[in-house]
């Protein structure tokens, strides 16, 4: 029986999701590959955004993939860590900003 929900080897099997639904998978991977091509943003910038988002959504597969991809594209370790802090700041900020909602409610209810 599998002991963990996540297996690093599964990352390489990502394409296998087509087995249970080829049409949607094909559409997804076409779009996905198009997204990461050089455009108004460079492929390196896109890798770094993906790395930050991977941390925000806490996807171990994506962290694995976009750490490698960022290194490959010449992103430095310092830049990668700053990107992770940006993601974390947004996540932290997203919670903290709701404090205003809490304060509004508390103030409304209180005499």
């Amino acid at each position: 029986m599998q002991k963990t929900y996540y297996d690093p080897a599964d990352l390489k099997k990502f394409g296998d999701v087509a087995e249970f639904g080829p049409e949607l998978a094909d559409k997804f991977f076409d779009w996905y590959n198009e997204v990461f091509k050089e455009g108004a943003l460079t492929a390196r910038e896109k890798s770094l955004i993906a790395l930050a988002v991977a941390h925000a959504v806490q996807c171990p597969y994506c962290i694995d993939a976009y750490t490698s991809s960022s290194l490959q594209k010449g992103v430095t370790e310092a830049q990668m860590m700053e990107a992770v802090h940006v993601a974390s700041a947004i996540r932290g900020g997203a919670s903290l900003v709701h404090g205003v909602q809490m304060m509004n409610k508390a103030k409304k209810l209180s005499m």
Binding site: A43, R44, S68, L71, G74
Partner: protein, 349 residues
């Protein structure tokens, strides 16, 4: 400075141990296809050379640096060096076969005491292009090397020099503390001599990844290198060659030690690009070891895989039949066929 595998009496300093590792592991279990199986799927049961254009000669394994990824396991403690007698045979072959390019590599080829003699004689022999794979820092390593830029210029040498990254920390991590600073200083001296700035004085830089991942797009890297080196250090160069790290010697040791070997081989296999097969360097290159043995490429040389030909030493060289040999391949060849491909001249597809 780190020690060579040979000085450490490391198991992987034995070429047969490296080959064993490449042949067994995940390839023996069938988890990954062997290189031979993969090219077979693309209709090439074997690889054969086209025509030799590049005669690559390794002048010895001695080097003033001990880079972490070095597939030669070169370093200051290596004593293997090509003799003048062997160089004379190389010159005879160059004259008789009229090979276009003489490509000198090492170690640091300049450390061979007969380096300048060999270059001068090759020039007199009419070799059209002479490449020296210079590590840059050699120019500053000892006063006797300070006039190398002028020597290079006088002989119209094309320089190919490693600079793994335009940031000091990344380069130093791979090539040793202080190497980036010295490399920049050497580049500035070469620029002042006209290299990278004047017509015909070519200096190409070599990028290789600082770990177990593939190189990025060569064109994009060249753009970044040119911009950063110009802005930060006023350094100019001609082309950037992106080279993949091959699982040989010290880089192989790194892969095994860090538990990256299987994943890296998997990455190379998945990135196999059949379009590279026509342009890989073993199709137009011969590699000569410091002791005169003949190999299909510098990588095969470091794995001790001599040419599959009755004559495997230059003393009995036959320029006709050597072109009809089958190229010796193994799993390290995936390094030259991954993505845009990789060779001593950069990408191939």
């Amino acid at each position: 400075m780190i020690k060579t595998l040979q000085a450490e009496h490391h198991l992987l300093s034995a070429t047969e141990e490296q080959v064993k590792l490449l042949e067994n592991s995940i390839f023996a279990s069938g988890e990954l296809p062997t290189f031979k199986e993969t090219i077979g799927k693309w209709g090439q049961s074997e690889l054969r050379p086209d025509k030799v254009d590049i005669f690559q000669v390794n002048l010895g394994y001695m080097c003033n640096q001990t880079c972490k990824h070095c597939h030669v396991d070169a370093g200051p403690d290596r004593k293997e060096i090509m003799s003048r007698e062997t160089m004379q045979i190389c010159l005879k072959i160059l004259k008789e076969n009229k090979y276009h390019t003489l490509d000198l590599t090492g170690g640091a080829p300049e450390m061979n005491p007969d380096f300048r003699w060999f270059v001068t004689e090759a020039k007199l022999a009419g070799v059209q292009e002479i490449i020296v794979r210079s590590n840059l820092t050699i120019i500053l390593a000892n006063p006797k090397f300070r006039d190398l830029p002028q020597f290079f210029k006088d002989h119209g040498i094309r320089l190919v020099s490693s600079l793994p990254f335009y940031l000091p920390e990344k380069t130093d991590r791979q090539r040793g503390a202080g190497v980036f600073k010295k490399s920049i200083e050497a580049l500035q001296i070469l620029n002042a001599a006209g290299y990278g700035r004047e017509n015909g004085l070519i200096i190409d830089l070599v990028y290789n990844p600082g770990g177990a991942f593939l190189p990025a797009d060569q064109e994009g890297l060249e753009r970044d290198f040119k911009k950063e080196l110009k802005n930060q250090y006023d350094v100019d160069f001609n082309n950037l060659l992106a080279i993949t790290n091959l699982p040989i010697s010290r880089f192989l040791d790194f892969l095994v030690r860090t538990d990256n070997f299987e994943d890296y081989m998997d990455t190379l296999v998945r990135a196999f690009n059949p379009a590279t097969l026509t342009g890989i360097m073993c199709k137009n290159t011969l590699s000569i070891g410091w002791d005169g043995y003949i190999y299909d490429c510098d990588f095969n040389q470091m794995l001790g895989l001599k040419v599959n030909h009755p004559v495997s030493h230059i003393r009995d060289f036959d320029g006709e039949t050597i072109n009809r040999r089958e190229i010796v391949v193994n799993q390290h060849c995936y390094g030259c066929t991954a993505g845009a491909g990789s060779s001593c001249q950069g990408t191939v597809a």
